[in-house]
Subunit: 449 residues, 2 copies
């Protein structure tokens, strides 16, 4: 097995986690990683904090550089190398060396596709105006940073009120910009239910973001130099000298599809539990591949760092001859906007309804700490449970400091197939600087009993 | 049933939670609560923060006053009334009205004993010196506060490095006092394993506390006015003008024992799962009663606010004719010393060893947030698992801001009978301001696989 040559396409979380795992298991195996960008193993989730100036250098976001993989792990990482074709029959990839502008071929015995995802950039008039950015790679973050430094934009417009949209709204507000956010949905954070999203919307407005829900992007106007001047929607025209597109991401799966690899949920690469694709000896991991949702009981497209890392780990074990299965996701996610923390796991009320489940849900408000302890704040917890059985289906939290990480208690309870009664009964930690006597998650559970 | 007269002895968390629950279920029932102190339903856990000056008034620690119980809930709360005898055969208590110095009797159909626990005050020479305090009731906290205001002590000595000891060390340091802590054990925080306790000890020393482990208290020296002058141990003499005893608590179970009620773990009142005692129609709840430990599979004495509240709830349901069982404890606890957060749940390595379990354990160090995010700090996580099955037995956390509440993830996993593999597989929340990609709890689990 260890003589089999491995090619990995994509040098970020999933690809490099897998490559590193395989190297540990198979010290002699030939491993080549092609990465079309400049960077390996970087923290894409940190980009908004880099743009905000909270993370001092882009270097801080890079966990391990290509030369370290080459020198310390004997992994042949080739950056600025783009795989442009996979030939599954010949077990061969065609690679373009971007710097040299040369194309060559490499053969493989095993191929791991870890091409990630790209930010959606709709084909609208003026989309290529200078100052319009879609965030995905570290390079795109650096581009925004450099553009801001050079042009000192004052009026930012963000398209999309999801995770990237909210984090970038915070970042640009921290940069003293005037920030407007539009979203075609009637709420921000569509992964949350509307009642919880309202709390976020109100807070964002209070902090000075102009938010326009139910507004659809229709194009961009440039000035004489080709720089962005304003954003056109179906309702109005927003002057802006910087635009960030947070309109979601799509899996980079075209290369795989062209090679005959089956696609699945949201056009992500269809994978089995071991992360094998439909084509023998081709594996896929990370943002380009789908994941099994434990509650929806179906494959979903969840492009998140935690998932990419686990995918990489599982693919690495299987490619090196071990046996592992991806355990599935609950759709757990967390973010913050200034002092407001936001998290969710499992099914929202809307998702439970869509799945036709017989559910019950409730939202409570509690204090984060003992009500008399300095720094205590408000937090709201929403729980969704199955009627009859009381099984916990999902949770959402919006609140001040110390609120959101409590979602892990709910995620763990869902994983353990626990009921709302179990949640009430549990021996959770309490002291005045950390929690009220009944943890807010348990208060939410109690009101559902 | 609702005609049955109920007497509750003790007006704090367990007693008043039960009384309130019963009132909701049985609006007409006669309920009398005797409380020997001045206060009802107060947050004893908040006392150190009140003494530190972080909680502005003792009023803030009182959740509900006697008159509110009387007026809003028709519960006949009689403060400064001490029950001095229970006659189980006659179903009658003898009560002393402390203010009037009169003794009278009241009959009952059901009796709930919720007498709490008292701080241990060993019978040593000089123990009654002015300025020596054992903390338990709110009044004892007020006494310390007033003593400090009047006497401006400068040199504090704390006996015992448990929760109260550590929290009081913080409080008195915040009051700019010179603080010494002695403990007869070879470590502070004996509910933690020694390796974790070392981290706490080092931090306390760095913050300026003088800590002397393995020193046994032998007495106190007073000045001419009867005020504390120094504390004598088996090793030396510590000058001190304020002494706090944090030598543990003992259940107030003498009254019950004298009435023929069986005692159990640590001399706490022996209770069944429904919180009935060995004597029909007598119930016990809160710090005076024992609790079932889910992992030790035996009754234990765990005097904690969370437990008292749950006891009160369960006793209230059963006394009002419903059916509920106390779900048991894991020994979950949390505290902090300045910026250092401390928590534990389940079995420590020492406890696992004592129980003769075939266990494995490991401690890891990780960052609390993404390593590049401002404010990230160090945290250590220790996990104890069962060999072979991988079942999680316990966890301990010591670290900076955001560390300790993660113990709830471990407590939930233990409750759900999960294994260390389940913990690694779980979909926990991640974003740079909250966690590294792998939550430190999962990093700890991974290293045990």
């Amino acid at each position: 097995m260890s003589e089999r040559k491995l090619i990995v396409i994509g040098g970020d979380a999933a690809g490099m986690t897998a490559a590193s795992k395989i190297r540990r298991e198979q010290p002699e195996r030939e491993i080549i990683v092609f990465e079309r960008g400049h960077h390996t193993s970087y923290a894409a989730c940190g980009i908004p904090y880099y743009i905000a100036g909270q993370v001092k250098s882009e270097e801080d976001l890079i966990a391990r550089k290509p030369e370290v993989f080459r020198e310390k792990q004997n992994i042949d990482v080739r950056i600025r190398h783009e795989v442009i074709e996979i030939d599954a029959a010949k077990k061969q990839v065609k690679v373009k060396d971007i710097e040299k502008d040369e194309v060559y071929s490499e053969t493989w015995d095993d191929l791991l596709i870890a091409t990630g995802a790209s930010a959606v950039k709709p084909d609208l008039p003026g989309i290529n105006a200078k100052g319009v950015f879609a965030l995905s790679s570290l390079q795109s973050g650096i581009d925004v940073f450099n553009y801001m430094k050079k042009n000192n934009p004052e009026k930012a417009l963000i398209v999309g009120g999801g995770y990237i949209g909210i984090e970038m709204a915070e970042a640009l507000l921290d940069r003293d910009m005037d920030v407007t956010l539009i979203d075609m949905a009637p709420q921000v954070m569509t992964t949350m239910d509307k009642d919880m999203a309202e709390l976020i919307l109100e807070f964002m407005k209070k902090e000075g973001i102009k938010v326009f829900p139910e507004e659809k992007l229709s194009g961009f106007e440039k000035d004489a130099e080709g720089k962005i001047k304003s954003v056109v929607t179906d309702k109005q025209n927003h002057p802006a000298d910087l635009v960030i597109l947070g309109m979601g991401v799509k899996p980079n799966s075209e290369l795989a599809a062209a090679a005959g690899v089956k696609l699945g949920a949201g056009n992500a690469i269809c994978v089995k539990k071991d992360l094998a694709t439909s084509v023998p000896h081709i594996w896929a991991a990370g943002d380009c591949a789908e994941s099994y949702h434990l509650l929806k009981k179906q494959q979903v497209f969840v492009p998140l760092g935690t998932v990419a890392n686990k995918h990489g780990q599982v693919a690495g074990i299987n490619i090196s001859g071990g046996k592992a299965e991806f355990p599935g996701v609950l759709g757990t996610a967390i973010t913050k906007f200034r002092k407001l923390e936001i998290s969710r796991t499992g099914l929202s009320e809307r998702e439970a309804k869509e799945l036709g489940l017989d559910y019950k849900s409730n939202t409570i408000e509690a204090t984060t700490l003992s009500s008399y302890y300095p720094g205590t704040g408000k937090m709201s917890v929403k729980l969704v449970i199955e009627k009859g059985t009381g099984r916990i289906l999902g949770g959402q939290i919006v609140g001040t400091s110390g609120s959101a990480k409590r979602i892990d208690t709910i995620a763990t309870a869902i994983t353990g197939n626990m009921t709302v009664q179990n949640l009430v009964d549990m021996d959770l930690s309490y002291a005045p600087p950390f929690s009220p006597v009944w943890d807010p998650v348990q208060i939410a559970a109690r009101t559902l009993l």
